[in-house]
Symmetry: C2
Subunit: 141 residues, 2 copies
């Protein structure tokens, strides 16, 4: 199995609301208005929005509701940019779960949840490199 992720699918209860939230953050999709799944090209991978019940059935898992042990992160180039993205998320209808602040690991981050409760950490990690295309490079050990 190659060391990569192709797609992250977020289960949603109201696809129109979820789509509008991510579009409100400035994301663009080629999905048609009536499509029942919305794909966003995110660098060399894809983020999808799909009905949570359909995703549970397709994934052959039981859905107990709530959070399930997966958190996404969006890294940016400065603490000020963390605060700016947190404000964008709030303005787009997200819920700020943790305001931007210094972290125990020497960075700066905040957390918002999308309308379906999926948390996103917005982080500045001074130890990691962000390319011009937004790609992340871990330091070589």
């Amino acid at each position: 199995m190659e060391q990569r992720v192709s797609l992250v699918t977020l289960g949603v209860t109201d696809l129109g609301r979820a789509r509008a939230f991510y579009e409100g953050l400035g994301w663009a999709t080629g999905a048609a208005p009536a499509d029942d799944v919305v794909f966003f090209q995110t660098g060399g991978m894809v983020v999808a929005l799909w009905g949570r019940g359909q995703l549970a059935e397709d994934s052959a898992v039981a859905d107990g509701g709530g959070w399930g042990g997966v958190t996404l992160a969006h890294n940016v180039r400065s603490p000020a940019e963390v605060d700016a993205v947190i404000e964008e998320a709030r303005a787009a209808g997200g819920t700020v779960l943790r305001e931007g602040a210094a972290t125990f690991w020497g960075g700066y981050s905040g957390v918002f949840a999308d309308p379906d409760g999926h948390p996103w950490e917005v982080a500045h990690n001074p130890h990691w490199t962000i390319g011009d295309d937004g790609s992340i490079r871990l330091p070589v050990a």
Copy 2:
């Protein structure tokens, strides 16, 4: 907010077991044996393994246990490669939730869960392009 994901963190109950599973799939990390978080470079992003309780606290969410509406996918270049990766996952200690089979959307996929129950769909989607580096490109609408 730029249209990208930097990091996907999977909450785990036994970091050594989780790390061994992904290493068993052929993934490599620069983490030291005693590190309490394990990072894998996955293309231009990162997959992390971290204690689920720590991740819940850091994400400012309540953890009800179980699945929470997020499924990852790993796309490959043929149906036969889907079956091969599903077998690799089974051999590494994963649980096969759905064997490889034709899908309603015209592709071929199966699903395995890692030792913490995080589902991965392994898929061949003939409508999407996979680059030599494993990156995915959606068709232009």
